[in-house]
């Protein structure tokens, strides 16, 4: 195995495991950042520059920092003398095993397995854009719709809080 890949895989997995098992939410969020950054580095290692830096920009730079921001804003004090690790790990492990099993079955029964491995392409940003606007325009639109719906939902929740009793 490539040592760089091994290191990145270890880092990403360790970050992800720490993110779900630690108790202090700020630590969890920052471990999630490590996992996101590890994923970005994995993309870069595969020579996928666009998706790698998009991952850094969107997940590390925006999503994760919003999570940290929300946690810092809503819970100023941290739990006192509680154990470092979260106690609900059994349920989490169960869910993780279920998801892994479902994904594994799906991948194993997929027809993609029987395709020959094609050489890694070197797509430019222009080609990515053309693909998104032609072959993958429906998924793009669906994701756009989903995000818009989520945003409207968030706005409605925020509006209710303002009108309701304080």
């Amino acid at each position: 195995m490539d040592p760089v890949f091994a290191f990145l895989a270890l880092l990403t997995t360790a970050g992800a495991v720490a993110a779900v098992s630690l108790r202090n939410l700020v630590h969890c969020a920052l471990c999630l950042v490590v996992a996101f950054a590890g994923l970005a580095a994995l993309y870069l290692q595969l020579n996928a520059q666009f998706i790698g830096f998009a991952q850094i920009l969107v997940y590390v730079g925006a999503v994760a920092i919003l999570i940290v921001f929300a946690i810092l804003l809503t819970r100023g004090s941290e739990p006192g003398n509680q154990p470092i690790l979260s106690s609900s790990w059994q349920a989490g492990l169960g869910v993780a095993v279920l998801v892994l099993g479902a994904l594994g079955v799906a991948v194993a029964s997929s027809f993609v397995r029987y395709y020959p491995v094609s050489p890694a392409p070197q797509p430019t940003v222009r080609e990515l854009g053309e693909q998104l606007m032609t072959n993958y325009v429906l998924p793009l639109e669906v994701i756009g719709l989903l995000l818009t719906a989520a945003m409207i939902g968030a706005v409605i929740i925020a509006m209710h809080e303002k009108q309701g009793p304080r």
């Binding site: 830096f53 850094i56 920009l57 925006a62 920092i65 940290v68 921001f69 810092l72 100023g76 940003v125």
Partner: protein, 368 residues
Amino acid sequence: MNRMEWLANLTPTQQFVLFSVVKIIFAVAILMPIIAYAVLVERRLCAFIQDRVGPNRVGPFGLLQPLADGAKAILKEDFTPEHVRKVYYWLAPALCMIPALLTLAVIPFGSNLGNSNNRMVIADLNVGILYTFGIVSLGVYGIVLAGYAANSKYSFLGGIRSSAQMISYEIAMGMSVIPVFMLVGSLNLSAVIDYQAGRIPDPETGRLIQHSSGLLSWLVFKQPLAFLIFLVAAFAETNRLPFDLPESEQELVGGYNTEYSSMKFALFFMGEYANVILSSAMMVTLFFGGWTLPVFGLEQPADSLGKGLLHIGIFLGKMAAFLILFIWVRWMLPRFRYDQLMDLGWRRFIPLALANIVVTAILLWVRA
């Protein structure tokens, strides 16, 4: 000739590594003194604006003041208060400085030296601008972690304010440059400079063809609105006045850096000035033609060593002009209120930037 022979005997990989290391050392060796002297210029300029003299005792005209400042920062006691969260407390100043230094990698600071085909940019990434925004967006971690680590209310408020501010203006900043890349047709920063020098790649062969050049092909004249939004967003991203709410000395006693001392404190400020310098460099690259000047054939890549050095000088000169602008504005404008800051970012700049994208797209469509 003997000296060049061993260079030619190296494999391409060895040459690449050698040239990259030399360029990295060169770029950092230029950046660090600029940071130090930006602080001196800031202090002198603010003194003149406020009708004072400013630091003028160390060396002629106070020119050795940065050395004294550096020595002071290193020699002072590095005090760690009892109530801080130690790991984050140590991590935060470094996280402030690292993104600023990483951004340096994709800035094309010159054409080439002599006849070699070695472009004066450390990493000529095809997704250069995406890299820049990705790395710049990491800068907020240093400040947020500093606020959280210090475990005091002033720092905490500074950290919270800064994260909200930087996330908001990142969106406006990112959207403001999209029209630029619609015109250029590439995310590569060298391609942006080529476009502004009138060299546009042929759609079929991909080779550069010289079109008309001149001052008007600079993107600041083609996309003035984009430049304006980018400029203001750069002020907000670097936490400079009129948007320095994360620091705001009068209400937060310095904000996120309140609990820091000695070199750690200095690192925050070095990070801030490095960010200001690199924002200036980005603006020069994106909107003001980078290392080119539309006179005396200076828009062409250099063919001699002197011209190559001149290109680097032109780049540094343009950058210095923006640096002075950053400093000047700081001592001229009062601080925004927090609601004004958010209002400007979300309700003025983001719609304007979106409209700019749509208008540019329609113009390109009509022309095609």
